[in-house]
Symmetry: C4
């Protein structure tokens, strides 16, 4: 008689559960190289602004480019539904909280206007900036080629959960290997959290994989649907797939952590977990340049009877330059994310992001220790 | 000299300790089959209303049937003690909180009237609804045959802790294998939380097993008695027994998770843990159709000197249809439980409940991560 | 080159970290035998009142005996320092909080009067009650024989941490094997938390071992001294020593859990962890019969410059009978401790305490699950 | 196909996560020897005041010496920038909180005056006290020889993270083996948290190693940079390196835990984790003799755009003598640290610090148990 089989549960960790251990040598932060590359598109800093309407406008994307990163423009949002977006943003910010969800539903009921797709891409390209755009899977075949024709350099195909296969009666799922032949630009695909799916997507030829389900992009998923994997474990798993795929194929496909990062410490931990790039939403929605005027709202495809997005106030805290490059006047880790990453790499002894992947990370679960850190902030011992 | 033997403690998990990991493929939610079967009795949706007086009246049972599920009528409660239950329910809801326990004790001191048993069953059957009733072990041999004769389709035999054997000086425990010969209807038995007891009950021929001790049905058990097993671990253990029994006998006996579920996320996790059906109390006591008028109270057999039930206000939140099938106007997971289950199955890539049993589940214990999710609710990242 | 040796840390658990799993059979609570024996002294119930001045007076000890348990009279406290204790107790209860510690220090500065030792023992014996007394190690050789001569049936020798050997320049430690020859009564020794010490004490011939350092008896130990072992793990370890000693010698020496128990659930868990007896302080200081008048204060030998005891208000909540045997009007587990133990044993299927030692215990660490239980108290699901 | 490689995370623990288990024998606290030695410099008690301006002035260092310990004077702070420090301290304490950081930045912008280095050392030496001074790595070669010439007995070379090698374009890192030939005094180096770095530093000939990154010295590191290792695990790891180096070389190099200790319990746990000495900041900033006047502020080398130090109020609580040697009027473990260490060693049965290293330590993570301890403070059970 065989021993009965009990389902096994695997522990998983988020940013607040872990910390980075310093390394055997230290490196001067100024000597660190934090650039990344997505199939030939090079970013000086590995920070990517989320394809959220409250974060990335064409002007914001240009600014991100100037500061070394990139902003992803949502081609299924306000920018392609309205010619005059300024007025819409103002109305959203002025709607009382109890009417915000209903107003957003109304605003997003307006259909996308095809002619605005190319125009928004051009607004970015004409300033010499690298242009990244985001499309939803259902529209990809139609929208992506048009965007590329208008000059888009990177296509992000995003849904809450992406796999290489989708079973449906009515719709045939996207086949990324086919898509690669029709779209003449690198394609970043997501979101996923698993080793298997990451490996399969890379085998289909995608140019990058977005990591994260639950914390962030579909952030009420855990309560409503029970689904979600803490971001550190998700990143570790997908990084293992990237490394395995690289070993097999010799092609290095970057993974981009997306969801729930708030501080420089989170950025550093994501890289140690294996991320090549970091996608940021709320931390950048707080920039003076963000179109959301101190608000942010969810972009998850609305499931009519399962609402998963509402407007929340995030405040306007500093210029984008200060958030990314400092100087920081705060000690909460929300400013000078690039400086934090470089100093952290210096402590670990990592000269570039791939060396940072090899740093040690520990589980440090104590709430009380954390509490003490808060209480003791700024003290020498 | 042998090494000393120290008692071993095994970790156990509840709904808030775990999350579901997305799968390798995705499935269109509309393609999912969420039906279940209890020995020939088929339910379109796997949701079962608890045999609590504040939840299931004959009219509520009919409504549950119309919406695809089933409601279990308590044959040892108000419905079989009073002819005019409407008046009793009103009195209970109007009693001040400090007198509620005493009033409930008085109300339940009235004896059960045998003639009301058949009448309540008929009130359900005459609308063409499937009829499930609940009896306590001590009354089973007397009440169950009468209920079946009146048309009951399913018998639930419930006590706080059920085993296949009970040691007592005065009472001979129920022998379920004998009961099966005397009662011509499927018999669902519970509650238990262990592999061994589930296997033994199935070997005695029961038609279903209710899982859950501690969180829910006897919910002060843990503080008063120290007894209780968190629901995810209990479900996993009993599901392992079901699978082993199926392997041995070829008979598939469903297990029904009972206790402590509040949200769609909990329902999804229960299925991934191995549940075939889900019993819900408080979430359905909040329906407009619930007889409890916004209150709920415990059904545990009162142990004179160890009180374990009191009336609490749960509020009336929506129609039963909205709670089960949506649409949902809330993001807290308390509405559209069926939609949540289908969408979650879609993310996991499960076409039916038994495929959902094979999904991966993780331990995600971080309180802070949870906190962040709350704080970030509705945001894209 | 050998692998470096890192110190290993072992996880340890307290009452709130664990829960009892129900068993394979159930037993009628009325059939359970919860008696225990300490070298021929039999207790009908395994509950022992702590040797604290706020808990046990001679009258209280008589009452405990009548209710099936036993109360341990402190021979190094108020009862042997003052002829008229009633007045002292009243003064203590009437001292303002900010002067309480100083007043207690003054009260306990009065020397012990030898003639009161025998008198207090006789006050208990004349009512036909079993008499247990507590002495500190330094006074044991002098006080214990006098107490036994006056009729004491059980001697408790207690200090914060007891081992079989004590290293000191000035004082020769107690040798329990010698003590056994000079004191003609069973000797219970404590406190300890370790397998090794328990085994060594039993090999020296003690009649019982008190388990617990940290939670309770020296309850600021953990903060001030860093010392303390959570009570479930301590009990499991000492129970393993008892079982090993029994295996070797055939003599069964009971262990008594002492410290930090508050509820019926804690009592049940202590027994499952392996305890033969349960020592209770604060829960009994809340009895109407307790001499402390709603207060309790520490008995730890005061270390002049490391104060570890102060007076705290515990309130008067019910009669001793109600606390021990019910009926309970509360659902927080603080009343009817005996009833709770019997019902819990029934769920586990244990007919006596030694069968209860074999029950399964789980680690159920979720704070949120616990929270939910509170919120859901009294509900059927 | 090899199994994919997932990054492994190792659990780590801080003071609040652990507790000390009592030992097999007990020892009279008065018999314990708690002295330590750093390459011939002997300390009667193993407590070292942090090189923070708010803690150690020359007068404070003299007082520490008189009480058995040592205070480390910061040679890169106020004492070497200002002739009249009293005025500066007063100004700092009188600056409003919202201007404190800016004022501190201004105060520390004044350059170090070389002639003050020798003078401060002499202020300590002229009272016959052992003199320890702290220098930052960049200034070590210049400042350390001058300090030694003036009479300094111990040199501490401290930075946030120290390794035996530093990679930089502009600066050649300190080579400690070279430094040892140029500085005629024992050199203590830090901070580190790892086995490898500790071993490497000892092989380079350092006289002692400071342990701790994250909790304390650079205490916002975890949030800003993600870097930090809880102190118990860090101490265990570095102690393993010390023991391995001792096994290889026969030279015993003490390790000093630095960061986050608040109570006597923390001091005891640090020693059990393997520390030979304990560096204290805030607990001593609360002494009446501390120059900070009830404030403390961070000494971390300010990274212009990543501020990591601010002034916080710590209050003045007792004389240094009372904090170190008692008597204590409090039960929170902040006074009589030496007494606590001796009593704890007595419970463990350790006669000296190296025996205390062998005590057992447990993981006792329960928040609720901790809560109960607070609630029960001072009670006998």
């Amino acid at each position: 008689m065989p021993y009965p089989h009990f389902k096994e549960l695997r522990p998983a960790y988020g940013f607040d559960d872990v910390a980075i251990a310093p390394g055997r040598i230290t490196v001067n932060p100024e000597m660190t190289d934090i650039s990344m590359e997505i199939e030939g598109v090079r970013l000086g800093i590995p920070l990517i602004a989320s394809a959220m309407d409250a974060v990335v406008s064409p002007a914001f994307a240009v600014k991100m480019h100037e500061l070394g990163g990139i902003g992803v423009l949502n081609l299924d949002g306000l920018q392609t539904r309205y010619e005059d977006t300024a007025g819409i943003y103002q109305e959203i910010s002025e709607t009382p909280q109890d009417k915000a969800t209903a107003f957003l539903q109304k605003v997003y009921a307006t259909p996308v206007r095809e002619e605005l797709i190319g125009r928004r891409v051009e607004e970015i390209k004409k300033h010499g900036a690298t242009c990244a755009v985001s499309v939803i899977p259902a529209n990809t075949k139609r929208v992506a080629p048009a965007a590329v024709e208008a000059g888009a350099d990177l296509i992000f195909v995003q849904s809450t959960v992406t796999t290489a296969r989708h079973v449906s009666k009515s719709v045939r799922g996207l086949i990324f290997s086919e898509l690669r032949h029709n779209v003449k630009a690198p394609i970043v695909v997501g979101n996923t959290v698993s080793y298997d799916v990451t490996l399969e997507l890379m085998e289909q030829g995608v140019s990058g994989v977005l990591v994260g389900v639950g914390p962030g992009a579909a952030c009420t998923s855990r309560e409503v649907l029970g689904v979600g994997v803490p971001q550190v474990t998700a990143t570790i798993d997908c990084a293992a797939a990237r490394d395995e795929y690289y070993r097999r194929s010799g092609r290095y496909v970057p993974i981009i952590t997306d969801g729930g990062l708030r501080t420089g410490g989170d950025v550093c931990k994501a890289v140690v977990a294996g991320a090549d790039g970091i996608m940021l939403g709320t931390p950048l929605a707080q920039a003076e340049e963000a179109p959301g005027r101190g608000y942010n709202w969810g972009m998850a495809t609305p499931h009519e009877s399962l609402p998963r997005g509402t407007r929340i106030k995030v405040g306007t805290r500093a210029s984008l330059k200060q958030i990314l490059h400092g100087p920081s006047h705060l000690t909460d880790g929300t400013q000078n994310l690039v400086g934090a990453l470089r100093v952290s790499m210096g402590m670990v002894g990592a000269v570039n992001l791939r060396e940072m992947h090899d740093a040690q990370m520990i589980i440090a679960p104590s709430i009380k220790t954390e509490g003490k850190i808060f209480q003791m902030r700024g003290l020498g011992s």
